[in-house]
């Protein structure tokens, strides 16, 4: 079937099998390979993207379900001049990553979290990221990064 999705501001049309998952549409169809696949059980959150502005696990959405929608992946966060998004800068500054596998999903989940709750407490950040697993950092620096990004956006 023909599916049209606006990914990071660019309309992408592809003729896909009905069973195509959004994450494969993004990785194989749109060639945006930052979004990772880390599990078979909708648990890890590595595949998290924004669908019409809200975080979703793109391994558990059909491309057909996203037909006509807007999707943002981590590749779409930076400005046109390459300037990093405040969340990306905060992950860098606070060492919110080690191997980086969880990072694209973690950053998108965090962006969605601050959209819904711009001034979260530390506990709200921890609970708000419960859908994303990280096997490296122990989460502390990730939480610190999200709080730093919230503070920066408030100051900006």
């Amino acid at each position: 079937m023909k599916v049209t999705i606006t990914v990071n501001g660019e309309q992408i049309q592809d003729d896909v099998e009905d069973r195509t998952l959004l994450v494969h549409f993004l990785r194989d169809g749109a060639n945006l390979t930052a979004t990772n696949i880390g599990c078979d059980t909708t648990s890890c959150g590595a595949c998290t993207v924004l669908l019409d502005g809200e975080s979703v696990k793109s391994c558990t959405v059909l491309a057909a379900q996203a037909d006509g929608a807007e999707v943002t992946t981590v590749e779409g966060l930076a400005g046109p001049d390459g300037e990093l998004h405040p969340m990306q800068r905060a992950f860098q500054a606070e060492h919110g990553l080690q191997c980086g596998f969880c990072t694209p999903g973690m950053v998108m989940a965090a962006v969605s979290l601050l959209k819904e709750n711009p001034h979260p407490t530390e506990q709200q950040v921890r609970v708000g990221l419960e859908g994303n697993l990280c096997r490296c950092t122990g989460y502390h620096n990730i939480v610190r990064a999200v709080l730093a990004a919230a503070a920066e956006e408030e100051g900006a």
């Binding site: 079937m1 099998e17 009905d18 069973r19 195509t20 998952l21 494969h24 078979d40 059980t41 909708t42 648990s43 959150g45 998290t48 669908l51 809200e54 975080s55 979703v56 696990k57 391994c59 558990t60 959405v61 059909l62 057909a64 379900q65 989940a109 969605s112 979290l113 819904e116 609970v127 708000g128 419960e130 859908g131 994303n132």
Partner: protein, 270 residues
């Protein structure tokens, strides 16, 4: 993993969905938020030939104040339940429990209708609608019918819905000011409840204590007979058939039910 091949059909309205599932009968599956069905399809535990996507049927996404009850469309997402001011005021148990389902990404997709129709005894919202004594509204080729939540669950993943019926709405009577509590015991943040308890006043329902969600009738009877919270909670496991899985055996679940019912009653009466 990707699902086995199937044909995708998109329903434009509730009636259209009924027609589409009617055309394909047992071969078809409704797809709402997809957060129970797609994981099963990816693991090839569900292999429908036709998937009827009702995700765009806007008419089934609403939360309405009907005076003495609240009507909730089947396509209303957990995220919308969790953030509804109307529910926070009138049905705080439902709003709170919806906020405990899975994680934010799951709640951005999963719907109340899918949660109720899936019939998983480990799900949170079925126990909540049991404790709230809600009525479910279904639409099929022969029209609309109402099913009491108490009559809806028939067995493991088995409900009173016919394969060609669509759950359209949940009607919940406004509780008369009684306290409430939702207790969910998990090992890790995003897990399903090992055991859960939903209490509204002296109505108590259990998550994951048998093949279906169920009311803790022995507890309710003891309370009606004037028993203390402590004594009533001791009866929480009576009449249950708790499953055994990697997380817990039946004896541990029975213990959890007694402890969580006591906590729920203490909180709802505080």
């Amino acid at each position: 993993m990707i699902p086995a091949t199937f044909t995708y059909r998109r329903a434009e309205s509730a009636d259209h969905a009924v027609v589409l599932v009617g055309e394909h009968g047992d071969e078809a599956k409704l797809l709402a938020g997809g957060h129970s069905l797609l994981p099963l399809m990816k693991l090839r535990l569900a292999v429908p030939e036709v998937v009827v996507d009702i995700g765009r049927v806007r008419e089934l996404s609403f939360i309405r104040d009907l005076g003495d009850q609240v009507a909730i469309g089947a396509l209303t997402r957990h995220h919308d339940l969790e953030n509804s001011a109307l529910l926070a005021r009138e049905l705080p148990l439902l709003a709170h429990a919806a906020g405990q389902v899975g994680d934010p990404q799951v709640r951005h997709r999963g719907t109340i209708g899918g949660s109720l129709a899936h019939g998983d005894p480990a799900s949170d919202l079925p126990a909540v609608v049991l404790a709230l004594e809600a009525t479910l509204v279904a639409r099929g080729p022969n029209g609309t019918r109402e099913i009491a939540a108490a009559d809806f669950y028939r067995g493991l993943f088995e409900t009173a819905l016919e394969p060609d019926e669509l759950l359209t709405e949940v009607r919940v009577p406004k509780p008369a000011g009684a306290g409430w509590s939702f207790q969910k015991f998990t090992k890790r943040a995003i897990d399903w409840a090992i055991v859960g308890v939903a209490a509204q006043g002296d109505k108590v329902a259990l998550v994951n204590m048998g093949p279906t969600p169920l009311r803790a009738t022995a507890v309710e009877r003891a309370l009606a007979d004037g028993a203390s919270v402590e004594d009533a909670a001791q009866r929480a496991a009576e009449g249950t058939e708790p499953p055994a899985d990697l997380n817990a055996g039946p004896a541990f679940r029975e213990h959890l039910a007694r402890v969580l019912v006591r906590r729920a009653l203490e909180e709802s009466r505080a």
